[in-house]
């Protein structure tokens, strides 16, 4: 066991398998990186990323040497390497445990998970890795697997639905799992294909275990000598039911299975595919027959449920949606260029190149009513028009994939599942506005998206879609990828451009808008991923087809990440104008665990909580803003009666305060002061007067901040005060009505206790004395409120009560 080992190494804490890097080694690594990255100041982020990849961190010798061999100044390298959270100046453990602190994970208990890992690995403020230097913990803004919340990622392996009591299990599972390599696409083209198996390989599916399923299928393929075409597909959006498996048999019958586990694979497979060899066929039949009698599981397992019933939920989930940006989801292999073309890909681009002039393309987009999907909703046609009119030596199109809102992962899904569509959208934008260079800005936390886009670009170049003559025309277009380095504020377009130029990502006042004066001082069109992925559909189907969907001012569809306390969360694309209630009740199948629907948080840190009483608000830019929330990039986190509004506000303020670039006074100090008051409130120390102060401060920060981040940061507090003021006021009396704020609650054992001692065994701080067959009690002075006892208690005998009742 790892833990025994940990205890041993505590004594010999010096044993470490990461050797200190010699100066000579550092120099050669830097030389190697600079040789391919370049010496220009704008390459600083790339250079730092590559050096860190090779050395695990950024030693100061490396920084000095980089300044010496490139044009980067010491000031620039210091500013940049401390601005972006990706960069480390001290070595970290061999494996990094990333604990997601996104909204969905937060409401499902991520802080407790983080505490549990720190406790188990003996990590505290003084050190950032475990005593044996094997693990370090990093809290990341959002891993984008919101439907599996809470989520923990160790290196590349993701664990979903983590409980604080499982930490040891997860660590040993990680240490015991080797990397299995297998070939996916081995099919014998000479023989008939038995079936096609589609398996989701989006990040959520992978986290749900689809890779294990895949390796199981590969094993079975060999065992039964099956000729199966394995087809990895992108995200279907049913992220809470992962892994998802779809079998298309020889007769072209589709059968879908959700929540597939590894040991079910064999059965599912053999139900639809008949093995070739007679021997194996008979053997299987007999085993199956006997099994049905021997185990109860078999009868109730989803495999034996009739098809309609099994897929009912899936259909409900998908029926209310309209797929434009996510068209063909679950069918198309993200990596396959041929498939994209077969399904009508690049037709819109060709239509633009051959039939339409620039003005009419911009006109179509303007007429369609498409608005920026990044949050603020600026009319896309208007932006394109300005870009088209502006003259410059060079023009750029940037795809803004720096999605950072905790609780939002639609851009990641689009890039992972439909890279070609985003590329096509970008190329149409470029052709219409006269740009010849495109840049994908993708955040560092999305490695799979980066890989997929890279692969897609490669295929586009090979097929002549990109290059000096785009599909044989005179249009020249090249695209490169820029990986962000972990700064939420870089989603703001002016900050994004500074980041591209290798500077600290601080926004500046607009105008000048980037579309007039942006990257390298040239006109730069910055569009969000979702916006661009809607473009090919609009061009192919016409402006009217698009603007017939939606409300008066908000047209088309919007992709949302539905997560939190919802029965069936996932990634959904809905028509504008649908009400919040419809989304939650019809698509999401209501609130989970039979609890009461309290509010829905829309728009992440820039948005707000809309209470159940206003749930009939339609999804529309203006309507949401009127409610005090914001469309944002599309996170939708459902909250139930166990969620505290003060805690939510504290969570979002902690986030904005951490992510503020620190440039303007109101955002830098204002958010800190707001956070201080909210923290005092959550500790029951604030007074009613402070609530008024808080409200005034919110107003000032809203008026006085420089960019969108600061201007919208008070929204979570303001909507909280608007709809849940009594809850704020209760906190001044030392009561947290939702029983969430740690300082205002305590854990008690009720009479239901049977004395099973489970709680006592699982208590990490020994606050519960071991008393078999007796009612247990909790020592309040020792209790750290880690929630372990409540989770393990089989009798639900542990309750959370208010400290001051």
């Amino acid at each position: 066991m790892y833990f025994k080992k940990l205890k041993e190494t505590n004594i010999h804490a010096s044993s470490c398998d990461c050797q200190p890097t010699s100066v000579q080694n550092i120099f050669s690594v830097v030389d190697e990186v600079v040789a391919f990255a370049g010496r220009e100041p704008e390459k600083v982020i790339l250079i730092l990323q590559e050096v860190q990849k090779r050395l695990n961190y950024l030693p100061s010798e490396a920084l000095k040497y980089i300044c010496k061999v490139t044009e980067i100044t010491p000031g620039q390298i210091s500013g940049v390497s401390t601005f972006y959270s990706q960069f480390r100046h001290i070595p970290s453990g061999k494996h990094t445990i990333k604990i997601c602190s996104g909204t969905a994970c937060h409401v499902k208990g991520a802080p407790l998970i983080s505490d549990a890992f720190k406790r188990v690995l003996k990590i505290d403020e003084t050190r950032n890795s475990s005593p044996d230097n094997l693990f370090s913990i990093e809290e990341v803004a959002c891993l984008g697997c919101c439907t599996l919340a809470p989520v923990v990622q160790i290196d590349e392996k993701t664990y979903g639905h983590v409980k604080p009591t499982q930490t040891e299990e997860i660590i040993s599972d990680f240490l015991n799992s080797g990397n299995k390599s297998f070939s996916l696409f081995e099919i014998d083209e000479n023989k008939d294909i038995d079936a096609e198996i589609r398996i989701g390989l989006g990040s959520c599916c992978v986290a749900g275990g689809s890779k294990e399923i895949l390796s199981e299928i590969v094993d079975l393929k060999k065992k039964y000598n099956l000729n199966i075409r394995l087809k990895p597909v992108g995200c279907v959006g049913v992220c809470n039911q992962t892994p998802l498996l779809e079998i298309v048999s020889r007769e072209n019958v589709h059968s879908r299975y959700t929540n597939v586990s590894k040991h079910q694979v064999e059965e599912i497979l053999l139900k639809h595919i008949i093995p070739r060899s007679l021997n194996k066929r008979i053997k299987h039949k007999i085993y199956d027959f006997v099994d049905t009698f021997l185990s109860d599981d078999k009868l109730t397992s989803q495999i034996n449920i009739p098809t309609e019933q099994r897929e009912k939920y899936l259909n409900n989930f998908l029926n209310y949606q309209v797929h434009l940006a996510t068209i063909n989801s679950g069918i198309v292999t993200p990596d396959s260029y041929d498939e994209y073309v077969m399904l009508g890909g690049f037709e819109a681009l060709k239509k633009c190149l051959n039939q339409l002039d620039k003005n009419s393309i911009v006109e179509i987009i303007t007429k369609s009513g498409l608005r920026g999907r990044g949050g603020a909703g600026f009319p896309t046609g208007k932006k394109w028009n300005i870009s088209m009119m502006t003259k410059g030596d060079a023009k750029y199109v940037v795809c803004n994939g720096d999605e950072g809102d905790p609780g939002a992962f639609m851009d990641r899904m689009l890039l992972e599942s439909f890279p070609y569509r985003v590329i096509e959208g970008m190329m149409i934008a470029a052709y219409a506005t006269g740009a010849n260079e495109g840049i994908f800005y993708i955040r560092a936390e999305y490695p799979l998206a980066v890989t997929r886009v890279k692969n897609a670009l490669k295929h586009c170049y090979e097929n002549g879609i990109l290059g000096d003559h785009v599909s044989g025309s005179e249009f020249k277009f090249n695209i490169k990828i820029f990986e962000g380095a972990g700064a939420f504020v870089c989603g703001e377009e002016t900050a994004l451009i500074y980041s591209l130029e290798g500077k600290r990502g601080t926004p500046h006042l607009r105008p000048p808008y980037p579309v007039v004066k942006g990257y390298k001082g040239q006109p730069t069109l910055v569009n969000n991923v979702e916006t661009l992925s809607l473009v090919p559909w609009i061009i192919a189907n016409g402006a009217e087809a698009f603007n017939s969907i939606g409300t008066e001012k908000s047209k088309g569809t919007k992709v949302f990440a539905l997560a939190g306390k919802i029965s069936k969360g996932g990634l959904i694309e809905v028509p504008m104008g649908i009400t919040i209630r419809e989304i939650i009740e019809k698509i999401g199948d209501g609130v989970a665990d039979g609890r009461t629907f309290k509010a829905v948080q829309i728009g992440g840190p820039s948005g707000g909580c809309i209470p159940v009483s206003e749930a009939d608000t339609p999804i529309d830019y203006e309507e949401l803003t009127k409610m005090g929330a914001m469309m944002g990039s599309g996170g939708m986190v459902v909250l139930d009666d166990s969620d505290c509004m003060v805690d939510m506000a504290k969570y979002f303020l902690t986030f904005t305060h951490k992510q503020s670039c620190g440039k303007c006074t109101f955002c830098r100090i204002g958010t800190k002061q707001m956070l201080n008051i909210i923290t005092r409130l959550s500790e029951g120390k604030a007074t009613l007067v402070e609530i008024d102060d808080l409200e005034k401060l919110c107003k000032s920060v809203k008026d006085g901040s420089l960019c969108g981040l600061g201007k919208t940061s008070p929204n979570p507090v303001l909507t909280g005060l608007r709809y849940f003021r009594e809850e704020y006021e209760a906190h001044t009396r030392g009561i947290c009505p939702a029983k969430k704020c740690k300082d205002l609650i305590k854990y008690v054992v009720t009479d239901k206790c049977t004395g099973c001692t489970k709680c006592s065994q699982d208590c990490p701080v020994k606050a519960i004395p071991f008393k078999p067959y007796e009612k247990h009690d909790i020592d309040q002075l020792i209790c750290t409120k880690c929630d372990n006892c409540r989770i393990v208690c089989p009798e639900n005998a542990i309750e959370i009560v208010s400290l001051n009742d």
């Binding site: 010491p74 601005f83 972006y84 620190g662 006074t665 958010t671």
Partner: protein, 353 residues
């Protein structure tokens, strides 16, 4: 030409001018902290906020360009209150003291820390002149005084207070060769009370602060309570912790806080460990607790490739101005330290002597 309004009066200007410049030309005064003509705009301090009545948005006038049809409000109540709030927020992380406690309690209002600095530099005449000019009298009040200054001296918390009174008397006597304390008319003792200026206060000195402040002091061995000669005088003067701000008469933050009648916030936030960095080559001092992160010093030296300059490090509330990670503070700004001190709107950058 663009037509627009400032405070309900019509104006016209060329395209591309900032609101600040246009307003200045029209005779309006907009306060600024992070703006300096000739340097790239930054818009961080937000005390230059004005309101566009057309859109109801508040905009920083130093970098916002005038646009057709704007209806700019430069001095309305909302604008004033937003500016005051910006100042209040800046002061809330400005953990610094405008005046040293010794000067605050001195009945004659002598600038004691400055006197100490002059003595350290062996400018005895300057030190005498300084005290006499403060009261515009030819006699020194210290002979009559109960040395409240020494009681207030922060050095007392470390070991013993600086012998301020003895120092004053020694230099006075050694330069005027007379002891005229007796001649002092008690009635004249009361100096004219000046209108009270805005003062930023820190309250109790933290232990970590004390450690930083002692960096400028001499070793304990050089100290002497009885001042008998120039050596002992300068030795004792060197034990002054310089609790005051060297920019007290030249601080834009102080002036604006006075002008907008902002109250000094009681609880000061500290965003990072308080440090006093001293460049031993040039005597440049940087105190991060006084810095308002306007970035003027950074922008001023941005073109400087040959010598390491100051830069921003970290992000958000904890971001600070610092020397590059790869350099010592002793190596920064070898040639331009006077310029950055000049441009600093507060006393965060100053010179030792």
């Amino acid at each position: 030409m663009i037509k627009f309004k400032i405070n309900n009066t019509d104006y016209e200007t060329q395209e591309g001018s900032t609101i600040l410049n246009v307003a200045k030309r029209a005779g309006f005064n907009i306060p600024t902290l992070c703006y300096k003509e000739g340097l790239p705009h930054y818009s961080s301090c937000m005390v230059c906020m004005v309101k566009d009545n057309r859109t109801n948005n508040f905009i920083p006038s130093c970098s916002a360009l005038v646009q057709e049809g704007m209806d700019i409000d430069i001095s309305g109540d909302e604008v004033i209150s937003l500016r005051s709030k910006a100042l209040e927020l800046l002061l809330s992380e400005h953990r610094a003291e405008c005046e040293a406690p010794c000067r605050v309690v001195c009945p004659a209002g002598y600038d004691i820390p400055l006197m100490n600095r002059l003595i350290t530099e062996n400018d005895f005449e300057g030190a005498v002149r300084l005290s006499l000019e403060a009261t515009k009298e030819s006699v020194l009040h210290c002979f009559e005084c109960k040395a409240y200054c020494e009681n207030a001296c922060r050095r007392k918390k470390v070991d013993i207070q600086v012998s301020i009174r003895n120092l004053q008397m020694f230099i006075y006597e050694s330069h005027t060769q007379k002891r005229t304390g007796d001649a002092l008319d008690k009635k004249q003792n009361k100096t004219d009370k000046k209108p009270r200026r805005f003062e930023s206060r820190i309250g109790k000195m933290e232990l970590s602060e004390q450690k930083e402040w002692l960096k400028e002091c001499s070793e304990i061995l050089k100290r002497s309570v009885n001042i008998t000669d120039r050596n002992s005088a300068s030795g004792e003067a060197e034990s002054c912790m310089h609790c005051d701000c060297r920019a007290k008469d030249n601080c834009k933050l102080r002036d604006l806080s006075q002008e907008y009648s902002v109250k000094d916030p009681k609880d000061k936030l500290v965003n990072s460990p308080i440090v006093k960095k001293i460049n031993h080559n040039t005597g440049l001092i940087f105190e991060n607790a006084k810095c308002i992160k306007c970035g003027l010093c950074v922008r001023l030296c941005e073109d400087l490739n040959e010598e390491p300059a100051l830069c921003f490090i970290h992000r958000g509330f904890v971001s600070i101005i610092s020397e590059p990670l790869t350099e010592d503070f002793d190596n920064v700004l070898k040639t331009r330290s006077n310029e950055v001190i000049e441009i600093c709107p507060t006393g965060a950058l100053s010179k030792m002597k």
